[in-house]
């Protein structure tokens, strides 16, 4: 039959792409480089719909606040975005500039949550459009028992770190903890409060009574020196509202560079709903269009939650699987000696970081931030006074305060994800029974340590976040030497789905207290390097 023969001919035709990458965030873009550099044909899809450009502050934060009558447009949004998200877990989720980053993710990817904060992104650049820019490497010991060659990881860490631009290089107590100084730029200047904290720490360090506490500069993916087209941070204080220098790293900055490679193609507004196997290759489909795109291999980098659902759905695997997240808390520190400090323009992300040993098995990591660039509304509602007087109080108090966060390792979370018969992914948030006690220990230790440094951890300010509030998700389909169904091999290849690799947080087997973004980027780079060689050999 002529019809049948043509159809067959079409099916056996070589797919138009060597690799399709689903997602354009940190993982997707990191995986793309080794592949396009090897001359492969790579398609990257993401689900960003057409968005109207948002209003960014055009002047430094404090000067714009003082007399820009239109400041509400970037603080609240012309459609009152911030006011419709009053319950959001982080101020980042309320910023109009970031509205398009989070919009439509749960509905589009059919993620349902129970006692869990499930955040993701359909936007080009993914969650890195709105991240805290915290970076760290994992040590050799963190890879013990994993099927990953640490030397390979080390190469990938370096490649990614140099590409995205990291600042904070200084010889301090956290140098070895971060393991990044070799590839970093100098640190950004500290504000007066953080300077004082660091001075106090250094002065008391010889006899510091709290073992297991180390303080140092935060290492962040923010430029202190220009890199390519991106400019260095000028301390405008607009980190939360939109950096006009592009000093903060976002994976969306990579697309222009990637497009210079002839084999690279980027398609937006494509929401992958199904993975289809066709004749030894893979196709992705979006229900809203008839378009099907075919590649020899498929790299899932849609973010842990979305990638997990796509893989489980294709596997039809409906048993519950664990989902790691870092239990987190936030707190407010008051430096009484600094009362009356004038507000000054400063860097808005982590300035100082700490590592704090809680038990032999659990270390906590955290950073402290200036309060200047944050909306004060966030604090007003937490003070047990009427709002009129909370405002009055905070006006005088907050310029002598810094806010802090703290993360604990992922093994203290106890979340599960289940693929439901209707194809949605249900996530239930739970914590390890030990966690409440550990959080109490952390609070008490921090209070004691910071008191020694002349800062008071404000009573009632230590607030433990709901499961998932950290937005550090990982470990749903962990890499394993001999993977079973529901696991992946050392290249993230899903057991039961040959040719489908998971390259984002979903395949990380463990989650430490450290920010895991750099690790998942390096892992994506490592997998893609290996694949580039394999595919190159096959075609040769």
């Amino acid at each position: 039959m002529p019809g049948g023969c043509c159809l067959e001919a079409k099916l056996t035709v070589k797919p138009e792409f060597d690799v399709i990458i689903v997602g354009s965030g940190p993982a997707g873009t990191s995986a793309a480089y080794p592949l396009v550099k090897a001359g492969l044909k790579v398609l990257m899809v993401d689900a960003q719909a057409d968005t109207s450009p948002s209003v960014l502050p055009t002047r430094p934060f404090l000067s714009a606040r003082a007399d820009d009558a239109h400041q509400w447009k970037w603080m609240i949004g012309e459609n009152f975005h911030a006011l419709n998200q009053l319950d959001a877990v982080s101020p980042k989720l309320k910023t109009p500039t970031h509205a398009h980053v989070f919009e439509g993710f749960s509905a589009g990817n059919r993620i349902e949550t129970d006692n869990f904060v499930g955040i993701g992104s359909l936007a080009t650049g993914g969650l890195s459009n709105a991240w805290g820019c915290g970076v760290a490497t994992l040590g050799t010991s963190d890879f013990a028992g994993l099927p990953i060659d640490y030397a390979e990881m080390q190469t990938s860490y370096e490649t990614v770190a140099r590409r995205i631009g990291i600042s904070g290089r200084i010889d301090d107590d956290l140098s070895s903890y971060f393991g990044l100084d070799e590839w970093s730029q100098p640190p950004l200047p500290l504000d007066a409060l953080h300077q004082r904290l660091l001075e106090q720490y250094n002065r008391r360090r010889p006899g510091f009574p709290a073992p297991g506490f180390r303080l140092g500069r935060s290492r962040v993916a923010v430029l202190s020196q220009p890199l390519d087209e991106r400019k260095a941070c000028d301390l405008s204080g607009n980190c939360l509202w939109g950096c006009h220098n592009q000093a903060l790293y976002s994976a969306s900055q990579e697309l222009r560079k990637l497009k210079q490679y002839p084999g690279f193609r980027h398609t937006q507004d494509f929401l992958v709903e199904d993975l289809l196997e066709q004749d030894g290759s893979w196709a992705i489909a979006d229900h809203r269009s008839a378009l099907r795109l075919r590649g020899t291999r498929l790299l899932l980098a849609a973010g842990t939650l979305a990638s997990t659902r796509l893989a489980l759905k294709r596997l039809n695997h409906s048993a519950p699987i664990p989902l790691l997240s870092s239990p987190t808390a936030a707190f407010l520190l008051w430096l009484p000696k600094m009362l009356g400090t004038p507000r000054a323009s400063t860097f808005g992300l982590g300035q100082l970081s700490f590592a704090l040993e809680l038990t032999a098995a659990a270390t906590a990591f955290g950073s402290t931030f200036s309060t200047t660039g944050l909306p004060m509304t966030e604090f007003v509602s937490r003070i047990p006074l009427s709002k009129r007087y909370s405002i009055e109080l905070l006006k005088n108090l907050l310029s002598a305060c810094v806010v802090g966060n703290i993360f604990l390792p992922g093994h203290l979370s106890n979340n599960t994800a289940v693929l439901r018969p209707d194809g949605s992914l249900r996530i239930s948030g739970q914590v390890h029974p030990e966690l409440p006690g550990l959080m109490k220990t952390a609070e008490a230790k921090l209070r004691r340590i910071y008191w020694k440094m002349g800062a008071l951890l404000m009573p009632m300010s230590f607030t433990v976040g709901r499961p998932g509030a950290d937005i550090h998700y990982a470990g749903t389909l962990p890499m394993h030497l001999t993977p079973r169904i529901g696991q992946t091999d050392r290249l993230g290849e899903v057991a039961g789905l040959p040719g489908v690799h998971i390259v984002d947080g979903a395949c990380l087997p463990s989650l430490t207290e450290k920010s895991h973004t750099l690790t998942l980027m390096a892992n994506a780079d490592r997998i893609a390097r290996s694949l580039a060689t394999t595919i190159g050999n096959q075609t040769a």
Binding site: A69, L83, A344, T377, S386, K387, R388, K395, N396
Partner: protein, 427 residues
């Protein structure tokens, strides 16, 4: 339904057509001039022959009237025109609804009222429905309402007629809804409906309300004896007095009060409050939101908020689908600081306090995101001694605690501040 409306481009006709079209009726305008596009046009002149009723017409609403009242001789023509329309409706077996006037009376002083009465008799005989509206107001400034608005706008005084004649106002959209209610019901034949406020109000009060709520200007009430007007009318002559609108004012003076309660009940129409109806939006809800915004923002910023913040709050709430204010208390409007009594978990966490809690958050966000808010929230960017700052902190704490004590003691008052809104909502 297919409706033919005479006078569809007039003050009432325009609003009626819009409402009918919005409810899915097909509106055919029987007017002299072609009507705006969404409706079909049936050329018709009151002084010409009756039009051919389009096939399938289910109701004919007769609104057209010779309001210019140029000559007394026009009355017979108007009655004849109505009769022709009645026949036209009868042929198509369409309902006939005639919009008459509160002044309709066999022995009315004005020709206008007498003509309306004569037409009413024919309509009732043909089993049609008669609607007698009171003082129609609101919406665009047209008709008699337009005349009164222009008067208030121009003159620094408002004549308060002595003895005071009374009017029974009805918003033009409430009237349109009532007419449509008659159109849509099958159990109404040969009936007269009196539509207007149940409680008549003094005409002077009505004019002062226009000044306050529509024109938004202070106007001086000046008592004017009716006798003086009579004298004026006699001296200028009938035709000039008609042109000046004096005749229409006289028809008001002799207005008998009408019983509208039964009619309103039968049609299931609830009239809006005069102050709300006079507002340009037609419902005054935005005004309520603006007042609420002023209270909340003043409370947070400790000084009167900039106008732009007030309207931004109203837009934010409207954007969230909330069009009704929750703060109605006059006390709070005068003394926004009293909100401190309500701004505590004891009130805000209760079911009826949650809405206020949300609105406080919205006001907080809007207050902060402004240069005015930056001053209050961030403070001056100059260095201050720790001691002075500590004293300021102590003062804030003392004030907050003092209010907390007052709030505890004044719990019943606080409840009334909030409950005040409850009773208001039901009213």
């Amino acid at each position: 339904m297919k409706l033919v409306v005479t006078g569809a481009t007039g003050y009432i006709g325009q609003r009626l057509s819009a409402l009918a079209a919005a409810r899915g009726h097909e509106v055919i305008c029987a007017t002299r001039q072609p009507c705006p596009t969404p409706y079909a046009w049936l050329p018709y002149d009151l002084r010409g022959p009756a039009p051919e009723c389009p096939v399938g017409t289910q109701a004919l609403i007769h609104l057209a009237a010779d309001t210019a009242g140029t000559a007394h001789s026009g009355a017979d023509d108007e009655v004849r025109a109505a009769q022709a329309l009645l026949r036209c409706a009868e042929q198509g077996s369409a309902k006939f609804i005639f919009i008459s006037s509160q002044t309709a009376e066999a022995t009315a002083t004005g020709a206008y009222g007498r003509t309306k009465w004569r037409i009413e008799q024919h309509v009732l005989a043909a089993f049609g429905t008669v609607i007698r509206p009171g003082q129609v107001y609101g919406g665009p400034e047209r008709g008699l309402f337009g005349l009164l608005c222009r008067l208030v706008r121009r003159s620094p005084f408002i004549p308060i007629l002595m003895p005071a004649p009374c009017v029974q106002p009805i918003h033009v959209d409430d009237l349109a809804a009532a007419i449509l209610a008659v159109v849509e019901r099958d159990d109404i034949h040969a009936e007269i409906f009196n539509l207007g406020a149940v409680q008549p109000i003094a005409f002077g009060h009505f004019m002062m309300s226009i000044a306050t709520h529509r024109v938004r200007a202070a106007r001086l009430p000046i008592p004017v004896p009716v006798g003086l007007l009579r004298l004026m009318r006699r001296s200028v002559g009938l035709s000039l007095s008609t042109k000046l609108g004096l005749e229409r004012i006289f028809s008001l003076i002799h207005l008998p009060p009408m019983d509208s309660e039964r009619s309103l009940q039968k049609l299931g129409i609830q009239l809006r409050v005069l102050a709300h109806g006079l507002h340009r939006s037609g419902h005054g809800q935005r005004r309520g939101l603006l007042q609420e915004a002023a209270v909340l923002l003043h409370y947070l910023l400790k000084r009167p908020p900039q106008r732009s913040l007030v309207s931004r709050y109203a837009r934010a709430l409207e954007g969230a689908g909330k069009t009704r204010p929750v703060i109605h208390s006059r006390l709070l409007m005068g003394w926004p600081i009293l909100l401190t009594l309500l701004d505590n978990p004891g009130v805000l966490r209760k079911p009826n306090g949650q809405e206020l809690a949300w609105r406080l958050q919205v006001a907080l966000g809007i207050a902060e995101a402004s240069p005015q808010g930056a001053q209050v929230f961030l403070g001056v960017q100059q260095s201050r001694s720790p001691v002075a700052t500590l004293v300021a902190l102590g003062l804030s704490a003392v004030k907050a605690l003092a209010w907390k004590t007052v709030a505890l003691l004044g719990r019943p008052v606080a409840r009334r501040l909030l409950l005040g809104s409850e009773t208001h909502r039901e009213a």
